[in-house]
Subunit: 301 residues, 2 copies
Amino acid sequence: MITKLDEIIEAAKQKGKKRLVAAFANDSHTIGATSIAIDLGIIDATLVGDIDTIKKVCQEEGIDVNKYTLVQEANEQAAANLAVKLINEGKGDFLMKGLCTTDKYMRAILNKESGLMPGGKPVLSHVSVFEVPTYHKLLITSDVAVIPAPDFKQKVALTNYVISTAKVLGNPKPKVALIAATEQVSVGMPACVDAAIIAAMGNRGQIKGAIIDGPLAMDVAIDKESAQIKMLTSEVAGDADCLVWPSNEAGNVFYKTATKFAGAELAAMVVGAKVPCVLSSRGDSTKTKTYSIALAALSCK
Amino acid sequence: MITKLDEIIEAAKQKGKKRLVAAFANDSHTIGATSIAIDLGIIDATLVGDIDTIKKVCQEEGIDVNKYTLVQEANEQAAANLAVKLINEGKGDFLMKGLCTTDKYMRAILNKESGLMPGGKPVLSHVSVFEVPTYHKLLITSDVAVIPAPDFKQKVALTNYVISTAKVLGNPKPKVALIAATEQVSVGMPACVDAAIIAAMGNRGQIKGAIIDGPLAMDVAIDKESAQIKMLTSEVAGDADCLVWPSNEAGNVFYKTATKFAGAELAAMVVGAKVPCVLSSRGDSTKTKTYSIALAALSCK
């Protein structure tokens, strides 16, 4: 079982190279991160963008441009669409956002005709894996970035996404905490009610392959002593592998507090499309970008 | 200006003793915390509860029972009501929860005839002051505990509460960040919209005595580098004194992540009643309980 982010890189290496396609890869951040991942032996990379700009950036950064397959498309939205098309044509295993805006990137993925969405009613969401120095294992969480206020069905989807990511990381039966402001089932609080229902679905085997409990307040989910003080009996309490957030706001506050105040690093990806999609931002550390590429590569079927 | 929690104790000492009344103070936690505060010279204390039990606990804990004024009431709700009555009769300056449940404590405070609520339409809420080792000053936040999902008017009240607490701590013009999942004004996200409106009210002087900005994502509020990367110009960004949470869930996740993962300590109190009310729980550290008593004492008029 993987318990550190560095081990994701090792696991991705062992699994063998996957083919990354980067959408509008005209910037030093995308080029730098993919270059590291290539050198680590995790990926081959196709960069879709303006080839002259890409060559110039490579020269400035001292990166050998010959390590990439380059595809010319100087328009932002067209480059995102073309990257998606290459995936659909089988020319890549997973997607990465370059300099195009998140809006245009998601539009390309979500496009009903040319996008990357499977049939049915798929839920496009986001999984992030945190290594917090003061916690004894990785924390796999959803959703800190994509769905602002998940409804019940979406929360079920998030629950399944963290479980499947845990399995990718070698954990056959993760402990999943559905987070609320309290572990009491306050029927006036939708987060509590949804969590109780999803936990019951876990008990009945309607959601498989995990030990699910909720509602749990954050302290109880990750701190055994807090659970003991509150006299809470739960297999998940104090030992959660996965956290499902009641809202993007709560998740985002965790994300930022953990990274800025508690020295956490993370890997993240968009899930629910046909392939994993990396959605790193300029603010992410180089480590986070590398870990995210490795996580997505390891998550490819 | 106070920048560490220890300084709150010093400031409370200098201000002079306040009279605490503890509701159903039959437990070692309440007795221990008030004993420390008495010894620090911050308070005199009246304990309402079962006197025999209180004496027994004092003996077990090696605390001199004579430092307290004792008032007999063996029933939980009646003890909470009686503590409130003593405040209303001018026999105490602020309230503290003992072994009675939060429900019963709040019921005593909120009672329309005998409670502690001022006239008009007061908003009973919660202010917590965090000392995070990795942040350069205290963070005054609301609401992590009392109002699950504050509406717009309640958010305005929370904003005013953090501002007035900042003033109590000697900050004449605090920087207030209204937290959302993003600093973009996404009109589909109520947290973003409410934050933008409250920030505008601050600009127009409808909320006074502070520099208010929002919506701000957590990272941007407390990390200058994140703000720079996002090219955000804001007096508040990276230097917030106060954080207003869009929901209890988000606030609670901050609270627990900061204390459990980032080594934060805090002081907290219920605000909006006629007097500050301490609401510590068994899970709080002795330090937090002492800081909370000092904060409430310092906040007394």
